[in-house]
Amino acid sequence: MWDEIVEHLADFESAVLTGLDAEGYPYSVRCRPRPDPATRVLRVPLPDYIPIESGPASLLCHRHDENLWRLKSFLVRGTLRREDGACSLQPRRFVPAAGIGGPLGMVRFVLGSRRTAKRYLRRRGLSRPHIPWREINELKAQVRAEREWQAGLRG
């Protein structure tokens, strides 16, 4: 797990750290975590005013391009410790998501999601709902026409 975290973390300039505040609400900030190979924790420079308390926390890295595509993301679940002005995250679990694991990872993700969806319906005694493909594709065609028209104006 540690090696995977270090490998993928190097691919991101910053990450989103989320912990809990005193009222039990999630509180997130952007930060620049740094792996500490000696102790296998992530050192997180966190300003003192941030009200995240020691305890369960997670670290998300994600990105997308200008067209909301080429997605890459992963999550590290762990325990946050704040002590004497220092802050570190002890990783407990690495959760790979979009763009990690190659084509096989993508196939696993799609098949897993299909299974989960079937189970969701089955447990509630619901039949497979109708998807309005015609309306979806009409909307898609309309958006494509708009895009071509705008490209024509620019070109």
């Binding site: 989103v16 989320t18 912990g19 809990l20 505040d21 039990g24 609400y25 999630p26 509180y27 997130s28 900030v29 952007r30 930060c31 300003p47 005013y49 941030i50 305890g55 369960p56 926390a57 997670s58 998300l60 994600h62 990105r63 997308h64 391009d65 200008e66 067209n67 909301l68 595509w69 997605l71 993301s73 999550l75 679940r77 998501a97 799609v110 897993g112 999601s113 299909r114 989960t116 969806a117 079937k118 969701y120 319906l121 509630r124 497979r128 709902p129 109708h130 998807i131 309005p132 493909w133 309306e135 979806i136 594709n137 909307l139 898609k140 309309q142 958006v143 494509r144 708009e146 895009r147």
Partner: protein
Amino acid sequence: MIPEPERALELPSEVEEVFREFRTCEMSTLARDGTPITWPTLPFWYPDEGRFLITTSIGLPQKAYNVRRNRRVSLLFSDPTASGLTDPPRVLVQGDAEAPDEVVTTLDGFEDELGRVLRRQPAGGFYSSNLLTRYVFEWYYMRLMIHVRPRRILWWPGGDFGRQPTGAYRVG
């Protein structure tokens, strides 16, 4: 029921702009063991109603399960990629969410939102492009709605988290 705001939210225009233009926000929900679980998601902001809508597929229902168990959530708007905004503030919304157990597939009343997704993510149209992709990805179009009402909104001009947020808005 999640608390209604006492009045329409009066937010600076640059914060409203972030809600409107950022492509994603980082949504956190609480797992059974209390760990905040954060994933990027596409938010829809309804200023007149003072609420956000997030949707998730029944193929990825964990966010909704978490909300049904614990309504406390947060949305961080920290990635301006593709927003077209120059040096926007970064914004944290803490709030209460509701996730009705109703599978939605209809486009009625949701055309604007799907249109916006297709404009912003053109390659996403692939999922419905032919019989095979429709079969493989039909789960993606079976959605659960998650409604988020803000309790507190904080913002950091220029995204400088090293300083205290200069803005704060508390609902109720």
